[in-house]
Symmetry: C2
Subunit: 227 residues, 2 copies
DNA sequence: TTGAAACATGAGTCAACATTCAAGTTTGGC
DNA sequence: GCCAAACTTGAATGTTGACTCATGTTTCAA
């Protein structure tokens, strides 16, 4: 496994030296200088797009942040959209990696949900404007956006199915539940990470964990009574 | 006072017949001809923005759909962004109104949530591309976007607090819950209305309702036994 | 009937980039 | 050291589309 590197395209590393192409961008650097320039461009683009949004952002802005020239940009990417896509793909990898790390020791699924929500909030806080990039992808590169969330949903679905098999959660439609849970996280991220920082992630995880675990219905204790 | 209205933010209405000004756009029509033209422009803009997105959309596209000239457009709106904002505000009113109508007879909050989710899915299906406009507002007019969702969240919070007071739901942090529920609806709308039509809204409402009501934890029935 | 306020028109202006390209500079294998 | 491939450069090109404005038409109150 690769150590992911910042945001940049931490591809599969090594491999057969041969062509490390990914269809996203057109060209791959062969020398060290080239790889450094590519990295600088990606980091600069993350900043530029994050701060100004896709349409306000300019290639000139990216290259000047990167300390490169416009011509150089087009050596590494075919277009403005191409580098944007590269960024989205990267964010997906980064996010999943971060959450996976924070969740891997959870004793069961419901605990994992709590940790996962908290981890997600933390992550978004640490990458606010990069997170904007994902959201804007919906309008700039819809397929990349769908891919991003669909793969999250798929992971959720798997986890839920597994947990149901173990009897950790009730049975039900895991697809619908997956999207519901995903939506929760995303909106909590928007509210408590992008728009405000005032609540500690663990608390949000706890509140949501409780909601997910027990729902909103009043408790019905064994001897209970209700109007 | 208005009962219920889960998602609906009971407007303020009032106002005489006089000038329905909103600071959003610059000019208001005085004659009948003017009002008709304004309406045509708004409808055309909804189409144009919905189909092509804010940045791809052009004023020329709007005016040609409306059967008006470019100059006319600038009689009614100060800029491309101004008409976009007007559209977002309109959508907010429309959405809240629709859901309020569907939810008003719910016997209690948990039933209302079920109906609300289903109504929201229905609404988004019926206004797919208009819904895009809301989402894109995040990048074109962030304040309008925040306003849109914040007023939804506020309505949720009120309803939850009220329900808690009546003992219909457990106590807890209603702000966090509100955003969690909002996120659910939005993402289910994305998945089951914008991206696909294959599941009937009531079923989604039922599944989510169950999740919201009981959570995911395995049932712990009083005399306990499980198949 | 009339004239002034409302409204409509659309060619032309103008600034903002994305992208290209021909010409230079650096790297690294031999 | 040599030189081909890799890399860098930024002025020039071309497109696009929001917005202006001078002129013409319609409405309606008096």
């Amino acid at each position: 496994m690769s150590q992911h590197s910042s945001l940049a395209g931490g591809e599969d590393e090594q491999s057969a030296t041969a062509d490390e192409r990914d269809p996203a961008n057109g060209k791959a650097p062969k020398t060290d200088r080239g790889r450094k320039t590519l990295r600088k461009l990606l980091d600069a683009a993350a900043q530029e797009f994050g701060e100004r949004g896709f349409h306000e952002a300019s290639i000139a802005g990216v290259t000047s942040r990167a300390g490169a020239s416009i011509g150089t940009f087009y050596v590494y990417f075919d277009s403005k959209e191409a580098i944007f896509r590269a960024l989205v793909a990267d964010m997906g990898r980064l996010t999943r990696g971060w959450i996976a790390g924070r969740v891997k020791d959870a004793p069961d699924r419901l605990a994992a949900e709590r940790l996962g929500v908290a981890a997600f909030i933390e992550f978004v806080r640490a990458h606010k404007d990069l997170y904007r990039i994902i959201m804007e992808a919906q309008f700039v590169a819809e397929d990349a956006y769908r891919e991003y969330y669909t793969s999250f949903a798929a992971a959720y679905r798997r986890n839920l199915a597994e947990a149901a098999a173990k009897g950790e959660i009730r049975d039900g439609d895991h697809e619908e539940r997956a999207w519901a849970l995903l939506g929760m996280s995303v909106f909590l991220g928007l509210r408590y990470a992008v728009w405000s920082d005032d609540i500690v992630p663990a608390e949000i995880g706890a509140a949501v964990g409780d909601l997910i675990e027990n729902g909103l219905a009043p408790e019905k204790p064994p001897g209970g009574s209700k109007p």
